[in-house]
């Protein structure tokens, strides 16, 4: 097992990628602190962790509040004695056109998705720096490397998360605490369930991915667990794209590629 006896904190652990990460981390031997604003769903994650034979605590919190981040660390340490890694995945999505984006919506997404990453990483980082070992993983997005039009402040928060991950790696790497980012592509989760419920959207979103499908939360969890584990002990200040090739697919959408009349279709056999 990759995370035997390690204690991992997952913000946004109540659902989606966060939940999948909690479950896989437990399967790999970790104790898990499930930090989320939604305690009921966090309790469901806890039950799923316990099915794996793992131990979990639920910490009801708002990641954008420094006092909550401090309490998150205190409660984790009280339950399990230490912290070996943190995955920050808590986010809220507030779509809007830029010209109409309200200040409060900008603030909310940045507060949770960027400031919240900082506060939680900082609080957990202090524990890990003291013992000279640990791993910080931020969930970014394909929207952090490609501008996600109509998504309000989401792309900005996600791009910021990549740089924050690099900064953690550069500042703390020499003291044993690695910092990295995972940039998922389109992953159906409770946050995006309403959108993917439309079969036309689901089919269209699968079609624009080079691999021809959207991803699963468990596939992102695999990357998170790997980055938490010692198998990635020289991976630091890096961003791992887990997106089926989507971030690199820009030129697939160039129409009229005639190539001088040479007919080609790489999707056909």
């Amino acid at each position: 097992m990759m995370l035997t006896k390690k204690t991992i904190v997952v913000t946004g652990g109540a659902s989606g990628i966060g939940r999948a990460t909690c479950v896989l981390a437990a399967k790999e031997g970790a104790n898990v602190a499930i930090a989320d604003i939604n305690p009921d769903m966090a309790e469901e994650t806890k039950a799923l962790v316990e099915v794996q034979g793992g131990k979990a605590v639920v910490i009801e919190m708002d990641t954008s509040k420094a006092a909550d981040a401090t309490r998150m660390v205190q409660e984790t340490v009280a339950a399990f004695g230490t912290i070996d890694g943190i995955v920050c995945s808590a986010i809220k999505l507030k779509p809007a056109k830029l010209e109409e984006l309200a200040e409060e919506d900008w603030d909310m997404v940045i507060d949770i998705g960027l400031k919240g990453y900082f506060l939680c990483a900082q609080a957990a980082g202090k524990v890990m720096l003291e013992k000279g070992a640990g791993s910080v993983v931020f969930i970014s997005s394909v929207g952090g490397v490609q501008a996600y039009n109509g998504a309000g402040a989401y792309s900005i928060a996600k791009a910021g998360a990549i740089m924050l991950g690099n900064l953690v790696g550069v500042e703390w790497g020499g003291r044993g605490v690695r910092g990295n980012t995972v940039a998922p592509g389109q992953i159906p989760t409770p946050m995006t369930a309403a959108m993917f419920a439309d079969p036309e959207i689901a089919a269209g979103r699968a079609a624009v991915v080079p691999m021809g499908r959207v991803g699963e939360a468990e596939e992102i969890a695999e990357a998170c667990v790997w980055l938490l584990s010692d198998r990635s002990s020289y991976v630091n200040a890096a961003c791992l794209q887990v997106d089926g090739g989507q971030a690199e697919s820009k030129m697939m959408h160039t129409p009229g590629r005639n190539w001088g009349g040479k007919k080609m279709n790489y999707k056909a056999s």
Binding site: N166, G174, E219, Y234, L240, M252
Partner: protein
Amino acid sequence: MARFDGKVLVITGGARGIGETTSEMFANQGGSVIICDTNVELGQALADKIGTQARFLEMDTTDPASCQEAVDFAVAEFGSVDCVVNSAIRMAPGLLKDLSLEDWNTVINVGLTGTFLMCQAAANWMIDNNKPGAMVNLSSIGGVAPYGMSGAYSTVKGALIMLSKHMGIEWAPKGIRVNAVMPGHTETPLTSYLQDPEIKKGRSEVTPLQRVGQPVDIANGILFLLSDEADYVTSTGLLIDGGLAASVMNHLPGRKWD
């Protein structure tokens, strides 16, 4: 069940350094490996050491017939080609001003053209046989930051990232994933200068993690990308450099923030 049970890896530059460690770990985790290298002595010794799950093939990545032979040999010996790793490279350092065409061509041919030919031969077998696959190509920190005085090395390593992405995009509909890894300073026979304690110390200190990498660090990343754990990862590059690529601003002097 082991991670690579029933899987067959063809690896170029498999006899030494990162390739050697990757070959051994792939076999240790249940797979079979065709060790391709120009160095017969080391390649055969490694295959003997690994045992029944390994074969050595003397090959030249720059020759399409040799790449095809590697595929045919893997199929004949182990029945399949599921994974490909390209780590073969030559170094021919020099100032661009003085770099000979011969040195330029050597590095481009082995590192870039060789990777294209090997991947193309394997992909054709996978597509013809309706088999999914995973490929990993060895780029470098020198592929994301120009490595002065390395001759054509940085250009090849940069191009390998794009080639990996390009193959990933074109072969994704066939179920073939292609990615690159970008190691930082790594202690291998190719980087024998790291045996100089002063160089090793200096290179460790410029790396945020405060150490140079070992082949196992890089092999761990390669194996992750080859495994089913990474089955939604394609057309990307994974830095395994201890934070080196992100650390340019560490070198700014005179930062009196307080």
